[in-house]
């Protein structure tokens, strides 16, 4: 898959491929140019050579032609051309009759030269009409191509005939092929060498970027320890980037360490507060309880005392039990826990109404959920605590609004009251354990709400305007619907 999507290839590969492509393109262009240049030159030189040979044959030809010295003509033709790859060479008279031919067996002396095909006929006509030296070619630069030097023979301005010397391009073609092969091999070597160098250079250049990328990925994971500082070799852009990145990483690591330390100290503070709260909240009733028990021990038969103190002892012990229970809920319980039907929430309406008693507090209940949702049992406790908190905030009169609805995958619950509101200083400590503004509060209700919301991976928000009221907003992800 990686191979099929070049955009996600590593920069080192892309860079080296780009360098290779550039090197290969340049190499091939230069190579082709060299080869083309070579071939063109070879072809031209061959034509010149053919003409030169014809002209050198022509030097001694006119006298021999006048004297019908056929043997000299033949020897002249043969000797001049013996060292070259000649396809054919001939001396023709004005009528096109053979005066000498390199292949005398097939082209006997004195007979008219007969061209083998149309092309040959055309060349023959051009040669017979030539009154000035010229080069004729056919077949291009190939194994079968040729260049022909044509020189008319004159004696005392009288036209005697023509010399045709034809050189094959075959040998030069093979030479050119060999040199092309050499050029090609050189280009390939050049490409391989250039590519390897390019790959090495790009790897070297990209290496700091790779380290930066790995470092940033580690930052993304939140792991600051998985990072080695990039060695700085140059002061170019990448060098400067590396320096900056190293600094950022060091600072980030320091910041994280500081954060961790802060979290640790906050935890210690919270632990201290809890410990102090427990000591205070448990110690207070304990002093009263011990007092009651002491009094009862002194007056074991005083029924009136027993009737008066036992409920006090009972109340004090229950308070301690509630505190311990709430602490256990807040500290130990960290599981999503059991689920129940959403209808359990509506049942809290009655419970809170019982709590209100005959006080002038109105509950506006709005449940916008029609579905049979399954909700965690813990949500029931969250809602009950919030309702109880709202009612307690109102003291004797007011309105509590309850609203429940689904938005996206979140179950949203709004609980608001029109009580005195929360002062900004209080707001910061609102969810701290044992923090309370109420006369008889334990300071654990909102702390438990906060902890349970955390456990349920939900969110909690508070909006409050002093003198106007407070609104708590809870959002809990819905995990399951009730089976039909």
């Amino acid at each position: 898959m990686l191979i099929l999507s070049p955009k996600s290839w590593p920069l080192a590969i892309k860079l080296s491929l780009t360098i290779t492509t550039v090197v290969a393109t340049v190499g091939l262009m230069i190579g082709s140019l060299m080869i083309w240049n070579d071939w063109t030159r070879f072809y031209e030189v061959l034509g010149e050579k053919a003409l030169l040979l014809s002209e050198s044959v022509a030097i001694n030809t006119s006298k021999a032609m006048v004297r019908n010295d056929y043997w000299s003509l033949y020897l002249n033709l043969k000797n001049m051309t013996s060292r070259h790859t000649i396809i054919s060479a001939m001396i023709l008279d004005t009528e096109g009759k053979i005066q000498a031919h390199l292949n005398p067996a097939k082209n006997p002396l004195g007979l008219s030269f007969s061209p083998a095909n149309e092309t040959e006929q055309d060349l023959f006509q051009q040669a017979m009409n030539a009154r000035e030296p010229m080069v004729l070619g056919s077949g291009g630069f190939s194994k079968t191509g040729f260049q022909e030097g044509i020189v008319p023979i004159f004696s005392d301005q009288k036209y005697l005939g023509v010399i045709r010397v034809r050189l094959s391009t075959g040998q030069l073609y093979e030479k050119a092929q060999a040199s092309a092969l050499v050029a090609l091999v050189s280009v390939i070597c050049f490409i391989i060498f250039g590519s390897v160098l390019g790959a090495m250079a790009s790897r070297r250049m990209v290496k700091p970027l790779t380290v930066v990328t790995q470092g940033l990925e580690a930052v993304g994971r939140g792991d600051m320890t998985d990072f080695d500082p990039i060695p700085i070799k140059n002061r170019d852009e990448i060098g400067r980037l590396s320096i900056t990145f190293n600094q950022i990483m060091v600072e980030l690591a320091e910041k994280k360490m500081m954060e961790e330390e802060a979290i640790m100290s906050e935890k210690l503070i919270a632990l201290g507060r809890i410990t102090a709260g427990v000591a205070h909240e448990v110690n207070n009733p304990l002093a009263g309880l011990l007092n009651c028990i002491d009094t009862l021990r002194k007056h074991p038969d005083d029924k009136e005392l027993i009737d008066r103190y036992l409920p006090v002892i009972d109340q004090g012990l229950h308070r301690i039990k509630d505190i311990v229970h709430n602490l256990l809920v807040g500290l130990r319980d960290d599981e999503y826990g059991e689920v129940e039907g959403i209808d359990k929430i509506d049942k809290l309406h009655d419970l809170i109404m019982a709590e209100i008693g005959n006080r002038n507090i109105r509950i506006v209940w709005e449940n916008n959920i029609d579905e049979d949702l399954l909700i965690p049992v813990k949500l029931e406790q969250i809602v009950y605590n919030l309702l109880k908190n709202a009612v307690e905030a109102l003291v004797d009169a007011g309105t509590v609004n309850f609203k429940m609805y689904l938005h996206g995958s979140y179950l949203n619950i709004l609980v608001s009251d029109d009580g005195p509101g929360i002062s900004p200083t209080v707001k910061n400590q609102l969810f701290d354990p044992f923090y309370t503004t109420k006369h008889n509060g334990t300071g654990l209700g909102l702390w438990v709400v906060y902890r349970l919301t955390q456990i349920l991976e939900g969110i909690i928000e508070v909006e409050s305007v002093q003198g106007q009221g407070t609104t708590f907003h809870i959002g809990i992800p819905v995990k399951a619907t009730k089976a039909a």
Partner: protein
């Protein structure tokens, strides 16, 4: 006075000495001038190294430098003889028997080839050609060796005359190669359909250049003729003639000479009478106006 007469005496003596030197050096120039030896196509003259060795051999034996003079045609060598440019020449039997020759040179010695002072004319054709007899060559291309050659011209012309053919019309085209070896080459390369050559040259080439002779085939062999002789120009000093004759004729008596003869593929040189060339005389008598025939063939 005494002093003056003393100087006079010295000057006279010095003048005498200088005169003696001058005279003697002048004589030395005449006796040291090289003997010039003309060669024609009757032998294969391409091997210059051999000619150097032969020249050195003759110089060593005769005590005088011998220079070989090469010319293209027989005629040019004959002209050199006539004009006194050369002292000796190895020529063909045909120019030798001509009346005019008696005025300028004389027979010196005759090479002995395969035991006899005789050779033949070969009529040759390309090996792969269909020609079997001389008459098959009618209307074909024919290569003559030299217009003054017995085997390379006189004999084939005589053959045509014997058959009542006009030499000028018998062949379609003819040409002279002026060299027996080149006639073999012309036929072997099929530039000519037939040619007339010296049997000695053909056989020599059959050993040294079999690749050429293998491409030719002999379709007619002439009766034997006197081997191309070595002649000396009339008018040169008798001693030189005698020394040259005896040096050549004694070549087969020492190893160096034998080695040179072996390279020439000859047995030696011997003194033979002029009648050896009677068969060529008889042939020439059959052909009238051979000179005009050859000039017509050339300018045709």
């Amino acid at each position: 006075m005494l002093k003056v007469s003393f100087y006079k005496g010295v000057i006279v003596k010095l003048t005498c000495v200088l005169l003696i030197f001058w005279v003697s050096s002048g004589n030395a120039t005449e006796t040291d001038s090289p003997i010039r030896f003309g060669l024609t196509g009757v032998i294969v003259t391409e091997n210059l190294r051999f000619l150097d060795q032969w020249g050195q051999y003759l110089e060593q034996k005769m005590g005088r430098k011998v220079e070989f003079v090469l010319r293209k045609s027989y005629r040019e060598v004959m002209d050199l003889l006539d004009s006194g440019e050369i002292e000796f020449a190895w020529i063909c039997g045909f120019p030798y028997i001509q009346e005019k020759s008696r005025e300028s040179f004389q027979l010196l010695t005759v090479p002995i080839y395969r035991g006899k002072p005789r050779y033949h004319s070969y009529i040759i054709v390309p090996e792969n050609s269909p020609y079997k007899k001389f008459s098959d060559l009618e209307d074909r291309i024919f290569a003559f060796s030299d217009p003054d050659s017995n085997s390379g011209f006189l004999y084939p012309v005589a053959l045509m005359v014997e058959n009542d053919q006009r030499p000028q019309a018998f062949f379609r085209k003819t040409f002279f190669t002026f060299n027996h070896a080149e006639t073999v080459q012309a036929v072997s390369e099929q530039f000519a359909d037939g040619g007339a050559v010296d049997s000695y040259i053909w056989e020599y080439l059959a050993v040294t250049r079999p690749d050429i002779t293998e491409k030719t085939r002999i379709i007619k062999k002439s009766p034997s003729f006197g081997f191309p002789p070595i002649v000396s120009r009339l008018g040169i000093d008798a001693n030189t003639v005698t020394v040259m004759k005896s040096t050549l004729e004694k070549m087969n008596q020492d190893p160096a000479g034998k080695s040179l003869l072996a390279q020439l593929k000859l047995d030696g040189f011997g003194g033979f009478s002029d009648s050896l060339f009677n068969s060529i005389r008889a042939l020439a008598s059959k052909v009238q106006n051979i000179g005009s025939i050859s000039s017509r063939l050339v300018t045709e």
